[in-house]
């Protein structure tokens, strides 16, 4: 029997048909969208593990070989007794310095805590150490595969500034926080201190030798005070062990001019924000070659991360509020902006940030990033807009942030109920829901804007109140058609005014053209 291996013609046709159908079906199938493929997320925890491994491997190289062996007795710079650092790896902050270096700031669970003796007065009948936050910052080296640790200590001025670990970090100094951020090298040499008052960085200092009379006044508006450092610590049995305190000289400076310390000694600088912030602080002279402390920028205030100088000023001015200045009898209390910021402050979580950056064409955007309400003002917008327009936008976006926090906290029942009411009318559209609710705040936003302009703005409040009121309509538009005013705001249009007229005012101020009443910010 002979076998013909070539298939008969009809089999070829059938196979061809099958292949064709199979191929066709595969082509169609390939057009069907695949289910969402799982995203590979590099977790912070795995990155932290690398820091931990590095630390365990290198920590013995970072400490003094023998305690006190490198005290520079001639300088008497502040050196605290060295103690082994015990990071609590479960509590950490993760962020980046402005130059891109990655930082892990990890809580130190050591019972030993040092603090200025002045805290004993600020926290009477309490153990001040309980209010000191003591962290270790692992700063990734820009090029080498290593981390440069420094110690950060946060000394609050009073109970109001006492914070939990999560509420304060080097890149997140709380709004309104008063106290000292002290930075030490890993082996406990003083590196630099920053003084905060009401959330504002007002000075920085380094320790220097005290003179024979304990005071070392130098040129400029500076003063040196003797700071007594309490060395008390809480023992493992919970009992506070009283130890002899240390005396150190601390020089702080104010004023607008720089100075040179007499005799060319000392390392003090008058605080001027650009100098401070653009010129990272370098490490003090050291004896140990193995450990090279990093340069560090100033701490960041959590609430204000703007880098545009004009926007920074507007935000600070708005924050101060000026309800006492308003001559709108009976309406002063409607200046809503400061109150809304206070809410974030009182919440204890400080989940509000304002910054400038790229927004994809919008003047500003507000969204939630890692639990923070983040407002981003467009860099392009800040270049073209008047300060009046920028103030309006900051107020508008802050009301968004306020409504977001209300959604979570449910404290303002009226706002919360309104949100749910309008959500039903704008389902799956939170921007429209917010804008509908914000229509109820038009007068409050107008008063905030008016008060700001009256005290700080370009016209000193000389415009008609209707102008500020009109500007408060800015941004209250439909999400899918931003040329249209949201329906709920229409009832509040001033008599005789149309949305198109108001929109023109908003455009004039946003572009800073010749018809704008405000002045350009750039």
């Amino acid at each position: 029997m002979k076998y013909n291996f070539a298939p008969p013609p009809y089999k070829k046709i059938a196979r061809f048909g099958l292949a064709l159908i199979f191929g066709f079906s595969m082509i169609i199938s390939s057009c069907i969208p695949e289910p969402e493929s799982p995203k590979i997320e590099v977790s912070e925890n795995s990155q932290l593990m690398k820091v931990r491994e590095w630390f365990e491997e290198n920590k013995t190289n970072l400490r003094l070989p023998e305690r006190g062996s490198n005290f520079r007795t001639d300088a008497q710079e502040l050196i605290l007794p060295f103690f082994e650092k015990e990071p609590d790896w479960d509590n950490f902050h993760h962020y980046y310095f402005p130059d891109g270096r990655e930082v892990f700031e990890v809580s130190l669970e050591n019972a030993t805590k040092y603090f200025p003796k002045s805290m004993l007065d600020s926290f009477p009948d309490q153990n001040p150490a309980d209010f000191v936050i003591q962290n270790i910052m692992f700063i990734k080296h820009a090029t080498a595969e290593r981390f440069d640790p420094v110690i950060a200590r946060y000394y609050p001025n009073d109970v109001a500034s006492a914070k939990e670990f999560k509420a304060i970090s080097y890149d997140g100094i709380p709004y309104n926080w008063s106290g000292i951020v002290d930075i030490w090298t890993y082996d406990e040499r003083h590196f630099i201190g920053f003084i905060y008052e009401k959330g504002e960085l007002i000075n920085h200092f380094r320790f220097k030798p005290a003179d024979s009379i304990g005071e070392n006044r130098i040129a400029g508006d500076c003063r040196t005070t003797i700071r007594e450092i309490s060395n008390n610590y809480t023992g493992s049995d919970g009992v506070v062990v009283v130890m002899p305190s240390s005396l150190v000289a601390e020089t702080t400076c104010t004023g607008s001019t720089g100075y040179n310390p007499p005799g060319g000694q000392g390392e003090y600088h008058d605080y001027q924000r650009p100098t401070c912030c653009d010129d990272p602080i370098t490490a003090p002279p050291r004896d140990l070659p193995d450990y090279d402390p990093p340069t560090i920028p100033s701490p960041e205030t959590i609430i204000n991360q703007l880098t545009n100088p004009c926007a920074i000023n507007i935000f600070k001015e708005l924050s101060k509020g000026s309800r006492v200045l308003t001559d709108l009898t009976g309406l002063g209390s409607l200046d809503i902006f400061p109150g809304m910021l206070d809410l974030f402050q009182k919440s204890g979580t400080f989940d509000y940030r304002i910054q400038n950056g790229h927004t994809g064409g919008a003047n500003a955007v507000t969204n939630i990033i890692k639990g923070n309400n983040v407002i981003t003002l467009s860099n392009d917008y800040l270049q073209s807009a008047t300060s009046l327009s920028i103030a309006r936008t900051i107020i508008h976006e802050t009301v968004h942030a306020y409504l977001l926090i209300q959604t979570k906290s449910q404290i303002d029942k009226s706002a919360f109920e309104l949100l749910n009411k309008y959500w039903v009318e704008y389902p799956d559209n939170l921007p429209n829901t917010h804008h509908a609710v914000m229509s109820q705040y038009i007068l409050g936003m107008a008063i905030s804007l008016y008060n700001w302009d009256k005290k700080f703005g370009p016209t000193a409040g000389s415009l008609s109140f209707e102008y500020y009121y009109s500007m408060a309509f800015g941004g209250l538009v439909k999400y899918n058609d931003p040329t249209q005013l949201i329906d709920e705001a229409k009832q509040f249009l001033p008599a005789g005014s149309s949305w198109s007229e108001i929109d023109r005012i908003l455009q004039n101020e946003a572009t800073g053209n010749y018809q704008a009443n405000g002045t350009k910010c750039n």
């Binding site: 008969p8 009809y10 089999k11 046709i13 059938a14 196979r15 048909g17 099958l18 064709l20 159908i21 199979f22 066709f24 079906s25 595969m26 169609i28 199938s29 069907i32 969208p33 289910p35 969402e36 799982p38 995203k39 927004t359 919008a362 003047n363 500003a364 955007v365 507000t366 969204n367 939630i368 890692k370 639990g371 976006e397 968004h400 959604t407 979570k408 906290s409 449910q410 919360f416 949100l419 749910n420 959500w423 039903v424 009318e425 704008y426 389902p427 799956d428 559209n429 939170l430 921007p431 829901t433 917010h434 941004g475 999400y479 899918n480 931003p482 329906d487």
Partner: protein
Amino acid sequence: MERSVIKTGLILGVLLASLFNSHETFSQRKKDMDLEQYEILENNYRKAKEETIQVFYHTMKYESWMKLVWDKENISDKGVGFCTFQDPELKMAFLALKDQIFDLAEKKIDSKKLSSKFRITKNKNANNVRFITESIIIGNYSFQFVRTLDQKSVHVQKKEESGIWNYECGVPLEFDFH
């Protein structure tokens, strides 16, 4: 003989094609939503100002963003989104929901079972198109996840004693404000 072989080949081909094209032809074989689920869907948008609600033609299965409901940034003892946990049953229902989202099925949506306000589309890039899940009913509460091109949310309804579903609250999960 030749014809019967060709015929068999074609039949097999059609069968295979239908098997491989199961995604495209599921509407012929997949389950439809039940009437109560249609009622719930209808109810979510009863008071919506939009004239037309565009909905993708079949429901979504589980997607990872749905877990945002239980993210600590969203949920607390007080509630989640615009939902308050004054009724402990709602809190319990949200907890039970966590396990049930993985069983969400793709079901066809029949425009004939919805009011004229709804428009069913196969164009996933259509303007304002919504991708929805079938509603999950837990006790007296129903939950429906919705995704648009740039926002994500959940709608919650409560069944009254009369058997009527009433809109209870919404949970916005992802959004941007301009």
